[in-house]
């Protein structure tokens, strides 16, 4: 059975990353923004694992483990911030938090 070309794996990672990026830009609900950020992190992790598989080294998986730990820490702090946003503005619309007036 043939190896999967690295380019195809990277294309999948790129598609996922682009999808997450569009989600961050388009959505106003903070949950969807956080979810899209998680999708982008996943895409980056996939790129690392693809690269590690290309050279048959464990480093790609090691980087993915670090990304996993980082995503866990980021999600817990991010969701705590979402709770603060909701308690303060009574909405999850990020456009409501505009007191600094850009």
């Amino acid at each position: 059975m043939a190896e999967i070309p690295m380019e195809h794996g990277l294309i999948v990672a790129g598609l996922l990353f682009a999808t997450g990026m569009v989600g961050v830009i388009v959505r106003r609900n903070i949950f969807f923004i956080l979810l899209s950020i998680e999708m982008m992190l996943n895409a980056a992790g996939l790129a690392f694992v693809v690269a590690g598989a290309r050279w048959a080294q464990a480093d790609g998986q090691v980087m993915f483990i670090f990304i996993l730990a980082m995503a866990a820490a980021e999600v817990s702090v991010g969701l705590a911030l979402v709770l603060q946003l909701y308690n303060r503005f009574k909405t999850v619309d990020v456009d409501a938090a505009s007191e600094m007036r850009g």
Binding site: T19, A53, F64
Partner: protein, 162 residues
């Protein structure tokens, strides 16, 4: 093995597109979990069974569950609780069910192959851990710093005022 990769990749991308286009937060979370499961299958086909298991256990099993908890806690549909019943029609289930069926079919097909579908080069968990606690030991310590900081920050930010 190749068809496994491409099908799982298609499922992952389609589920990702569905995540960002849903109106209901819980639907989007369910599609995200489907996408993560498909990505775990992709990792397996790339010869990375360890991160495939980690992806399911930690990402879909802990991080997404945290999302679900907070969404349920904030009760985002509270302005239209009666409308939720209207929204809860069978059409909402067709998409995730179809994608999950594709994944189940792939899983059954793989398991029924008597080891024919193993990837060409597998990087075992032992290799990963030897590398992780060998050259990348500093990164492990830094990750524990980060997790501690995240824990303290989340605890502080999650407290109610007063």
């Amino acid at each position: 093995m190749n068809i496994l990769f491409y099908l799982a990749a298609v499922v992952a991308v389609v589920a990702a597109v569905m995540v960002i286009t849903r109106l209901n937060a819980v639907h989007a979370l369910l599609y995200m979990i489907v996408s993560l499961l498909a990505l775990a299958l992709v990792f397996y086909t790339l010869g990375a069974p360890f991160v495939a298991a980690l992806e399911i256990i930690i990402y879909a099993g802990a991080i997404m569950v945290l999302f679900v908890f907070v969404v349920m806690m904030l009760n985002l549909g509270e302005a239209a609780t009666a409308q939720e019943l209207i929204w809860l029609n069978p059409h909402a289930w067709r998409g995730p069910a179809l994608l999950a069926l594709v994944l189940v079919a792939l899983l059954v097909y793989t398991l029924g192959g008597n080891g024919r579908f193993l990837p060409a080069t597998i990087i075992s968990p032992k290799q990963v851990s030897l590398t992780l606690f060998g050259p990348y030991l500093l990164g492990v310590e830094l990750a524990s710093f980060l997790l501690l900081a995240g824990l303290v920050g989340a605890h502080h930010l999650g407290k109610r005022d007063g």
